[in-house]
C-alpha cells in the first residue's frame, strides 16, 4: 500500500476474491427457486414410412413421423440466474435387440421469459429412425417433454415437464401415399 501501483494491485487482488465469492453465491441462489412447471403432451398421429438413407443409398430404412401437441408454461423457470431453457421432446423405447433408446425428435431454445409459454403443434424436427433398419419388434414408445435450465453461473439442471400417459406402439410401415 506504499505506492499507487501497489494500491491498485491490492484492490484488484481482493476484488477477484470477492467476485468469485459473489459468483458462488449466485450459483447457490438458483437452488432457492424450486419451480417445477408441468405441461401436457399429446401425440396426434404416428406413421412409419420406408425411405433411403442419405449415407447408404442401397439401404432402405424406416422413418417415423410424429405429430404432437405441446402445452406448457415454463416461465416460472426464469429467474435472475436463468440464461436460457433447452426444451426437447424425446421418444423412449427399447429396440428389438434390447437397447434402451431416448431419441430427441424435436427441440427448442427459449431465451426470454415472454417466449416461455409453449403452445406448439408440430412434427418431429429431426429424422426419427431406429438403429436397426426397421421399427419391427420394438417396444411401444413413451414420449416425454424435458427441459434443461441453463444458468449464467452454476450447474445445469434437467427435469421433465410432461409425459404421455400410455406407451404408443409403432405402426407397421406403410408405402408412401
Amino acid at each position: 500500500m506504499y505506492s499507487a501501483y501497489q494500491r491498485i494491485n491490492n484492490i484488484f487482488a481482493l476484488l477477484s476474491t470477492c467476485i468469485f465469492a459473489l459468483l458462488g453465491a449466485i450459483a447457490l441462489s438458483s437452488f432457492v427457486f424450486t419451480a417445477d412447471p408441468k405441461g401436457s403432451l399429446s401425440i396426434g398421429s404416428l406413421k412409419v414410412y420406408p425411405g433411403r438413407s442419405p449415407h447408404f443409398k442401397q439401404l432402405r430404412k424406416e422413418y417415423a413421423f410424429v405429430n404432437f401437441e405441446v402445452h406448457a408454461d415454463l416461465s416460472p423457470l426464469f429467474h435472475w440466474n436463468t440464461k436460457q431453457l433447452f426444451v426437447y421432446l424425446g421418444a423412449e423405447y427399447t429396440s428389438a435387440d434390447g437397447t434402451r433408446n431416448d431419441v430427441v425428435i424435436w427441440d427448442r431454445i427459449i431465451r426470454r421469459k415472454e417466449d416461455a409459454n409453449l403452445n406448439v403443434k408440430g412434427r418431429n424436427k429431426y429424422e426419427f429412425r431406429d438403429v436397426a433398419v426397421s421399427f419391427k419388434n420394438v417396444t411401444p414408445a413413451h414420449y416425454t417433454l424435458k427441459y434443461n435450465t441453463m444458468p449464467y453461473v452454476g450447474v445445469l439442471t434437467y427435469s421433465e415437464a410432461a409425459r404421455t400417459d400410455n406407451a404408443i406402439p409403432f405402426p407397421l410401415a406403410q408405402e408412401r401415399v
Binding site: 500500500m1 506504499y2 491498485i8 484492490i11 481482493l14 470477492c18 467476485i19 459473489l22 449466485i26 435472475w80
Partner: protein
C-alpha cells in the same frame, strides 16, 4: 520532474497505508454483499455487477491517488549525527 515522479509513485505514510487497507476491506466485501442482496431482490444480475463495478471505481478514486489525508503522519527522523568532530 521529481514532482511528476512523486505524483505517479504516490507514496503515503504508514498511517495512510493502514487506512487505505481498511477502506479497501470494508468497501469491497460490503459492496459484494450489498450488490448480491440488491440483485437478488430486483432479480437482475445486471444490477449486481453495476453496483460492484461502480463501488470499485469509487474505491479506486478514494484509495489510489496520494491524497494529503494519507500523509498527515510523516515519520520523524532522528537528527543526523555529525561524525568526525571528536577526532
Amino acid at each position: 520532474m521529481d514532482y511528476v515522479q512523486s505524483l505517479v509513485e504516490g507514496k503515503i505514510d504508514f498511517e495512510g497505508q493502514r487506512l487505505t487497507g481498511t477502506f479497501r476491506d470494508y468497501t469491497l466485501i460490503g459492496s459484494a454483499i450489498i450488490s448480491f442482496l440488491f440483485g437478488f431482490l430486483s432479480q437482475s444480475l445486471r444490477t449486481t455487477f453495476i453496483l460492484l463495478g461502480f463501488s470499485t471505481i469509487v474505491l479506486c478514486a478514494v484509495v489510489v491517488p496520494p491524497w494529503s489525508y494519507y500523509n498527515r503522519h510523516p515519520i520523524k527522523w532522528l537528527p543526523v549525527k555529525v561524525e568526525g568532530k571528536k577526532a
